[in-house]
Symmetry: none
Subunit: 246 residues, 2 copies
């Protein structure tokens, strides 16, 4: 059994505290311990504790944060549970593929599995933070899984994937994958440069930044690569870069 | 998607009607429709209906019977969900193997997946009715899955097994992957810009271009993305780009 301590479950904007409790129970059953709650409607709450049914330690240790970006600090790989998205196709995996990748990556760094609101799911902006969308196959006439049921399915696949070393694991990278917060700084810097050069019209941004996010998220840059990219951006802005940083 | 009409879920001696409702929802989400209840403590019940959340048709069509044997009538293959049994080793499968066998057998005959009581599970006598025990891998220090969560895991694996498309298909991409020659033009353009901005010293290029190639090759940009990147490079060089190209 591999160590799952680097794997966090992030619940965004959960409305019903009972679902938080049931998710905690599903996590603990499968050996996951780190729960992060982004702006839950009511927590702590008696319903959460009741449904946790013995997994109250997960609730007691849960981190509550205001924004998704706070929840993703330090994460090099982020999966977002989602129904299919229409506007812009995004790399998509099924729960099994998600778990194989998540477990394999968690040997080297922090990984997050993100679940959205009971009714509305994750916003497009939140999905843009994810490297992959996870789509749980479902009845096309009745798609909406209960939140804790979705957590259960992914946590189960994670446990299955962690039972033994998965074959074909990703080779260890020279440098650690850049965490989410560093990627956000990169995207802000990139956007700034694109506006300065006139390529991005802030009044009519269209899908440009989202397309670029999708592109770089696929590549999953490591810290050194992000440093190079930011060095390039700074050079474009005319700031002299020390060549050592390359 | 294969037909799952020959597959029934059997819940034995369920104590909490809420779990019956949540199980019905999990079933319907995964495309399973036939629910049989063996001597439930209270059914129908408002808690069952509330937790079914739109899967009330499954509840309305549920058969209620007095004994497990009645529930298994006509079934050629029976799986019983169970923690490991001690007294007598029994053929055991994991949820994935269970689903593969269940779906394959359901093409020719009736199959049942049986779940026991919330606290006590299935009795040995009931387990004797099963061809295979299904063991859901769990944290050895916290094994007891919620009943509906166990139904969700097996129903999910059944749906995965019934998919006709093989797993691992790449989502349809908006535009074709850029061919090698187009990528070469991108890299030459990028190199030009890096030299112009002073970030790349042609007399001492080091690994910069190879690092950038490795990064973009991982992302495998499509033609549209390469157009965007080249548009950005042109904008940096001060050539005005038509905004249509985005």
């Amino acid at each position: 059994m591999m160590n799952l301590a680097n794997l966090r479950i992030v619940l965004v904007g959960t409305t019903h505290p009972g679902n938080i409790g049931a998710s905690a129970r599903a996590m603990k059953n499968m050996g996951l311990e780190r729960l992060v709650l982004v702006a839950p409607s009511c927590f702590p709450h008696a319903d959460a504790t009741a449904r946790a049914s013995g997994a109250d330690d997960i609730l007691a240790n849960a981190r509550v944060v205001a924004r998704l970006d706070d929840a993703l600090m330090g994460c090099g790989l982020v999966f977002g549970a989602s129904a299919r998205r229409r506007t812009l196709p995004w790399p998509e995996v099924d729960p099994h593929q998600c778990a194989l990748r998540a477990v394999s990556a968690s040997a080297h760094g922090e990984v997050a599995l993100v679940f959205g609101r009971e009714r509305a799911g994750l916003t497009n902006e939140e999905l843009d933070r994810c490297h992959f969308l996870v789509h749980i196959p479902a009845n096309p006439h009745y798609r909406s899984l209960n939140l804790a049921a979705a957590v259960q399915v992914l946590a189960y696949e994670v446990r299955m994937a962690a039972r033994e070393e998965p074959a074909g694991a990703i080779p260890p990278w020279t440098s650690a994958q850049a965490p989410a917060d560093e990627m956000e700084r990169l995207y802000r810097h990139l956007e700034e440069v694109l506006v300065e050069t006139g390529f991005l019209d802030p009044d009519n941004p269209r899908f440009l930044m989202r397309r670029l996010r999708r592109l770089f998220n696929r590549a999953r840059p490591d810290c050194q690569e992000v440093n190079i990219l930011r060095g390039i951006l700074a050079a474009i802005q005319g700031r002299k870069q020390s060549k050592q940083s390359r």
